[in-house]
Structure formats: structure tokens, C-alpha cells
Amino acid sequence: MLVLSAILPGAGHIARGEWRKGLPILLGWGILLGLLWLTWERIQALLGARRTGIDAYIALATVGILLALLWGWALYDLRVRARRPAGARGDSQWAIAARHFRRNKLAMAGLGVMLLLYLVTLLTPLLAPYDPSVQGDIVTTRYLAPGTEHWMGTDKFGRDVYSRVLYGSRISLTIGFIAVGIAVVLGTAVGAVAGYFGGKTDSILMRFTDMMLSFPRLVLLIVVIALFTPSIWLVVVVLGLTGWMNNARIVRGEVLSLREREFIQAAKALGMGDGRIILRHVIPNTLAPIIVSATLLIGQTILTEAALSFLGLGVQPPTPSWGNMISDGRDALINAWWISTFPGLAIVFTVTAFNLLGDGLRDALDPRLRI
């Protein structure tokens, strides 16, 4: 069976009758190979071009790594499982949560969609049939309805909407991911420091957090975006810097209760430095709520970017982001519904996936919510 799996990952599982594990592996392997085969010409063109974009290499590397991973995991699973006693299960907090999470079908679907989305962003150069910014012949290829040639139609410049949605996913997801990264790091730092030290530090930091919370966010966003040259990074940074406050509050609340717990007291008694205690003992124990709030925040951030784009302040054309695609297509809503409907649906599905995932994580990580 190992041999079988070595040739065709997943085949070994199937031979053992483990269809539920084997089939996805086999399918994944097959789809990736199929992708390579179908896009072989494009890959050659990409590699042969005078200036190959870094994203083409990333895409190829992604395919390679995924193939290797699937193959390796299938082998590993077969070998290790063979030796592992049946029914042995971990009982750590995370293992329990994971078991719980797996039972929540919606959340699993959310996780699947999210993974798929990030995969798509990496593979975009292979998946997108057209260049997102190349304008077609304005007279003959604009406003084409969805069909076999253009799956999601074309926009007013004759650009392929499907390719733009794919490329837009990179922008929108990157914005969501990095902005939330900034917000989470900042919020966790502020919350942990405030909660751990308490007293003056706490009240100053929390005053500041309160002030940021009471600040009309829109005023801040518009003014900052007007002050600097607009770029994707500006949008990312601004969204990150104005989105950390709730996380700070959550973390502070957790830390306040953690601070009095024995293991922290013990670490203090052992003479560990504050920085070390915060990093090694406090923050790891607040991870669960942080993960939940971060997942939900990614969805919110994608929505905020779309709203900014609607006001003309988000990512600027010709770079496609889902927000500015909707905004661009709204003039032709009645005649050419596809231009803004597909990116709109993309947003809805992505944000739904993140929210499902976040809710599932919350249910799984919070013991009080379990049955």
C-alpha cells in the first residue's frame, strides 16, 4: 500500500477502504497536475517572457510545494497510523477544541473556503485566463455578457471580469490579512501591557484606546488618505491603525483575570522579567479570543475596504480590488449586471467564510458554549 501511495498519493488510503481520506488527496493531486497540464503553454510563456513577474514563480512554487506536501502527508499518514494505537487522542485544550470544531460543518466549510481563497491568490497567474489590466478592443469586446469566452463577462474596457475578480481577491485578501495583522499585534500589545501592569499605565493606555474608539473613524480615514499619496499600503496601514481598539480591550480583560492566576504569580516569584512573562505566559493564554476576533476582523476589514472604495477612497484603479470593481460597475448595473455582481458575490462569500470560521472557532474555543 505504501508503494501504491508513493506512486499515487491517496491510492493507499483508498485501497485500505479509507475513502474519506483518500479521495480528497487523490482529487487534490489530480487537480493540481491537471492545472499544470492545462496551463503548460502559459507557464512556458511566463517563464520565457523577458521580465517574469515574481508572482508567476510564486504560483509555480506553490503548485510544486502543494504536490510535495500532499504526497508526503499521504505517506506519513499511512506509515504513522499503522504504528499508532487506535483511539489514542490528545486531551489538551487545543485538541478538544479541534475535535469540537470538526463537528461544526458550517465552520469547516468556512475554513475550507478560506484555505481555497488563499490558495487562489497564490495561483492567480495560472488561473486567470487574461491579464486583468489589458484593455480589449473597446468597440467589440466591451460589456460582453458572461459566456464561454469570458466566464463573468467583460467590463467597459473589455477587461475580463473573471480575471479581475481573481486578481482582486489578492488585493482584498492581502489588505484584510495585513491590516488585521497590524491591528492584532498593536491591540494585543496595548491590551497585554495595560492589563499586566495595571495602575497608571493601564489608565493611560485605556484612555488612549477610548479616545481612538470615540474618534469618528471616517474622518480619520478620509483625512489620512487625503494627506498622503494614495496606495494600497496606505489603505492597509490606515485600516490597521484604526482597527485595533476592540482587540486591545478583549486582551486587557483576559490579562486582568490571568494576572492573578498562580502560574503567573509563580513566574514572578521565580524572578522572570515582565517582558518575558508577557510574551511567554500571558499572551499565549489569550490566544483563543485573539484568534476569534482576528478572524472576524478580517471579514470586517474587507467590507471596510469596499466601503472606502465606494467613496472613491480605497484601492485606486486600474488595480482591481473587489470594492472598486463594484463601485466601477454600478453605473451599468441595469444593463451589465455582471460587472459589479460577481465581485459583490465574491465579497459576500469570502466574508461569510471568515465569519463562519470565526464563529466556529468561538464556539469551539469557549468551553462555556459547548454542550
Partner: protein
């Protein structure tokens, strides 16, 4: 040139088709009494916050002042020739230094006081008072003191200049008895801006900030000027979102949608509830090259860029064909227009490449971008403003057009106020190229755009300096005789084309979405609301509700 205007007009008439051809003159006949009544709603994207003709700054407000609420001294007929309005007649002395208007004596302010020459002088003096900050002081550059020989005669001194009657078309005098006591600096804040008293065909009724202005027919409006308007009421509604506005037109909540986008125009054409009306406009869109920067100092380079841009492609792609290619700043239906000016600027990438080569640019490194002798690539940014999708789209098309001649133009979109500050502040001028728009008056004076002495005026974007252009700009506005001026105007236009301080892209066709029930609508370059007092809606098609006193006239 006049023939051209007629052709354009005939085209507009034919395009709109099937409309009532009743002329304004017989509007008062008893047969059409059915036309009196009903409410029409005008919808537009921009809010009008100020209707005081001395202080308001936006185009729509000016339209309402000219055609709805006030009565200017003169008006233009459909061939853009001056015609009497408040003034019954006018004369100018032999050396064009004194202009005398004889005013009607049957025009009343809406509060019942008779309008007289004293009102005109009062308004004129205020408009020339720098403290009042009248937004169009250019009107009075060649004008001097005014006198009132009698209550219905207004006399004003002037230096001879071309189209000297033009200001009196756009300038609407205000009632002296209302504004006399207001300190000049506080005109802008005075309630008159929001509760104006006019003397035009419609009276002000009410205004809700951010929502609407309501006007009603003025039954006292002189018969000779058309008499009482057909409509009982006229409502101006501001709806900020274009998609909503289009929906309102297509569902019949709005009767007249001012300037829909080109995508929307297509949808209006296909609708069975509304029609699209188009007429050539006076607004043009251009790209200004910042000649203060070394990259754009060579006229050959600028012309190469101009030739490489497919202007017809922009018109077809972005505007759905609804524009006329522009070469110089004179719209095709103006008497000054030179049809031959564009020869030096036809779309021709090969010639453009040659011109670039002559100016020392060629692709030395083989990367597809041309470089100068020092090896610096020809790259620059082209700015446009957020929210104006047409101009953003233009920047994108220009980028792809210029790439074909090896020039890399990177579009950059900035928030409007930021952009204006960057490009118009004389000490900054922080741009390479910018997509901008401008609306020319009937009285053309481009010195603010091209005259070397006005290099530090905010909208002298190009910073272009040329002795011959300066000379032309100095002399042209002073020649009263059109026949004598025409060859010089032609020279001026060719000069602008060859020097290309700015690349003009097109004169936009102005479009209006008009509900099918609204009749006798015929907008043209004079304005969106021209002839609004002759619009009518037949009884069966009127809105339910509304004013009940329709029968009384």
C-alpha cells in the same frame, strides 16, 4: 460658422424627434390651455446651496438664476445671437465705449416691487466690488462706471472688446430693496442665498437643505417674454448617488436628469419611459503638461504625446461616442472655430515616435521605454481626481496609448482638494501631467490658461510661455469686428495645436435624461434649463396630488 451651428441644431432636433414644434412666440394661445399645470422634477447630483447671483459659484445655480428665478438683461437665441430679455433694446456708441440698455417697465420682483434700472446698477456695482467676491469678475475687465439716466435706462462705460454683450446674458441683477442694507462682506451669509426674491418666470417657494428647491409659476411674468410658464411647479432635487438618480428617472419620480453618465445614457436610450437628449457642450477635458519640468519643455515632445493619444478612442470608449474631438480651446459651434486646426495633431503613433526621436528620445536600453541621451527613461505620473471616473478612465487609456510609443505614464488618483492644491498652488505645481476640465464662456479669453504674465494664476497649469501666443491673447479679445478677428483666431488655434501646452481631448456632448411625459424640452449649449418656462406635461400624465389650484391661471 453659423451654418455649422445650424447643422448641429438640426441634428439635435432630428435626434430627439417627434417633439412639439410650437415656437415660443405663440405659447400664449388659448388652444394650448391644456398645457398649464403639473409639476416637473429636475434631478441632479450636486446640491445647490446658494441662489444669490452675486455669490453663488456653481454652474447649476447659475442656470437656475438665468432661466428660472431671475431675468438677465439679454439672452441668446438658438443661434447664440443676443436677444432682448429684461432689456427691450440696447445701443452702443460709434467707438464702442458706451453701452445703453432700455429696460422693460413691466417686470416685477416676486415681492411685488417693480424692477428698475436702479436694481441693475446696484447689482453691477456690487459685482465689481472686490469685497463682495463676485465669482466672475472677468466679466467686467473691460467695463467701467455705470449710470442710470432714468428708471428704465441703464448706461455703462466700456473699452471696445469682442462679444462685450456676453456678460449680460449670464449676470442676473438682484433686487436693491432687499439687499441694500446688507454689509458687502456678509452677502454670502445673508438669508437671500436660501430664500431668494427674483423676477423670473418662476417664484421661489421653499428650500430644504440637502433635499430640494421648489419653485412655482409666476403669473405676472410679462406676456412678451413668454408669460406665465406652463408648469405650476418646478422642483430641483439633489440626489448624490447616480444609480439612484437613474432609477428615479426610469420609474418616473424624476422628469429631467441633468448630465447622466455615459453608461447610464445607454440605459436611458433603451428605456420606454425616458429619452436621451444631447447637445454639444462648451466643456472640454484636457491633459496639462507641466512645462516647468524639463521633461515637457520641448514642444515636439508635447506634440508627440498629443499625437500618440487616441482621442477618438477615448471618446468611443469612455463617453460612448458622445463628444467631439477637440484640438484647441474653441468649441466647434463658436464663430471663432477653425476646422483646420487639428491637422497637426491627428492620431499617429509613427510620427509621434519620430518627433520623440528628433527631441532626443529613443529606446537605448531595449526595455520598451525610450530614454534621453543621459539614459533617463521617459516616465511620469498622470494625475486625476478621485470620484471622477471618466477622468480616471482617461488616465488609464492614456497610459496604454503612450506605452505604444515607449512612454510610461503612471496614473495616480488623488482626492479632489488635494489634487487642486497640488496643481494650482503657484509655489507647488507638484505634477507632471494632470487630467482636468474647463468650461469656456461664449466670450473666449484664454489668457488665464496660456498667457505668460499669468503664469502664477491658479489654472495656468502648463506654465507655458510664448511671445507670439501672448501677443495673440492680448489682441484677440479687443477686436470687436468678427470678420477681422477670424484669421487671427485661426492662427491662435493652430499655435496652441503645434505648441501643445495642453492636449485637449474632447468637447463633451452634454446629455440629459428626459421623462417621456415632459414635453417641449430642447436644451442646448446655452444651458440645461433653457426654455424651462415652455416645458409642459399634458393633464393625463401629471402626478397625482400636487397643487389643487391648477385651473386658475
Amino acid at each position: 460658422m453659423r451654418r455649422f451651428a445650424i447643422v448641429v441644431l438640426a441634428f439635435v432636433l432630428a435626434a430627439c424627434g417627434g417633439r412639439d414644434k410650437t415656437s415660443v412666440a405663440d405659447g400664449g394661445a388659448e388652444a394650448d390651455s391644456a398645457r398649464f399645470g403639473g409639476v416637473a422634477v429636475i434631478g441632479a447630483g450636486n446640491q445647490v446651496t446658494d441662489l444669490n447671483p452675486l455669490t453663488s459659484m456653481d454652474q447649476t445655480a447659475n442656470q437656475i438664476q438665468q432661466f428660472v428665478l431671475f431675468t438677465p438683461l439679454i439672452t441668446y437665441d438658438s443661434l447664440f445671437q443676443p436677444a432682448p430679455r429684461w432689456a427691450k433694446s440696447w445701443e452702443v456708441n460709434a467707438d464702442t465705449t458706451e453701452l445703453t440698455f432700455r429696460l422693460r417697465d413691466d417686470l416685477f420682483w416676486h415681492d411685488g416691487i417693480k424692477s428698475s434700472a436702479h436694481d441693475v446698477k446696484f447689482s453691477y456695482d456690487l459685482a465689481r466690488n472686490p469685497e463682495a467676491a463676485f465669482p466672475n469678475p472677468g466679466f467686467w475687465t473691460h467695463y467701467g462706471e455705470a449710470t442710470v439716466p432714468d428708471s428704465f435706462t441703464f448706461r455703462v462705460k466700456l473699452r471696445p472688446h469682442a462679444d462685450f454683450l456676453d456678460p449680460w446674458r449670464a449676470f442676473a441683477p438682484v433686487p436693491r430693496h432687499v439687499l441694500e442694507s446688507v454689509p458687502v462682506g456678509q452677502l454670502r451669509q445673508h438669508a437671500f442665498s436660501r430664500r431668494p426674491v427674483g423676477n423670473g418666470p418662476f417664484k421661489f417657494v421653499s428650500h430644504a437643505e440637502g433635499q430640494d428647491w421648489i419653485f412655482e409659476a409666476n403669473p405676472q411674468f410679462p406676456k412678451a417674454l413668454g408669460g406665465r410658464p406652463y408648469l405650476d411647479r418646478l422642483v430641483y432635487r439633489a440626489v448624490p448617488e447616480p444609480t439612484t438618480l437613474l432609477t428615479e428617472l426610469l420609474t418616473g419620480s424624476v422628469d429631467y436628469y441633468i448630465a447622466p453618465t455615459s453608461e447610464q445614457a445607454e440605459q436611458i436610450k433603451q428605456s420606454d419611459r425616458a429619452r436621451l437628449m444631447a447637445f454639444p457642450g462648451r466643456e472640454y477635458v484636457y491633459i496639462a503638461w507641466n512645462t516647468r519640468r524639463p521633461l515637457f519643455q520641448d514642444a515636439r515632445v508635447r506634440r508627440a504625446l498629443g499625437m500618440a493619444i487616441n482621442r477618438q478612442g477615448i471618446i468611443n470608449g469612455v463617453l460612448g461616442g458622445a463628444a467631439t474631438q477637440a484640438n484647441a480651446t474653441i468649441p466647434p459651434f463658436f464663430w471663432q472655430f477653425d476646422p483646420g486646426a487639428g491637422v497637426g495633431l491627428r492620431y499617429d503613433a509613427e510620427t509621434a515616435k519620430r518627433l520623440l526621436h528628433e527631441a532626443g528620445y529613443s529606446d537605448r536600453s531595449g526595455d520598451g521605454i525610450v530614454e534621453d541621451v543621459h539614459g533617463r527613461s521617459f516616465r511620469f505620473t498622470i494625475k486625476s481626481n478621485q470620484g471622477n471616473r471618466i477622468r480616471n478612465d482617461i488616465a488609464q487609456i492614456v497610459q496604454s496609448d503612450l506605452r505604444k510609443i515607449g512612454v510610461e505614464a503612471q496614473p495616480q488618483i488623488l482626492e479632489w482638494n488635494t489634487l487642486v492644491e497640488q496643481v494650482t498652488t503657484p509655489s507647488k505645481r507638484d505634477f507632471d501631467a494632470v487630467v482636468f476640465g474647463y468650461g469656456t464662456e461664449f466670450q473666449v479669453d484664454d489668457s488665464g490658461l496660456f498667457h505668460c504674465e499669468k503664469r502664477d494664476e491658479p489654472f495656468h497649469l502648463s506654465g507655458y510661455c510664448d511671445a507670439e501666443t501672448d501677443r495673440l491673447l492680448d489682441t484677440l479679445p479687443r477686436i470687436v469686428d468678427r470678420a477681422a478677428a477670424r484669421p487671427l483666431w485661426a492662427r491662435y488655434q493652430r499655435k496652441i495645436v503645434m505648441d501643445q501646452p495642453i492636449t485637449l481631448l474632447y468637447f463633451q456632448q452634454r446629455r440629459e435624461g428626459v421623462s417621456n411625459r415632459l414635453q417641449n424640452v430642447d436644451p442646448d449649449a446655452r444651458g440645461d434649463l433653457v426654455g424651462v418656462d415652455r416645458w409642459y406635461i399634458l393633464p393625463g400624465q401629471r402626478r397625482a396630488g400636487g397643487p389643487q389650484q391648477t385651473a386658475q391661471r
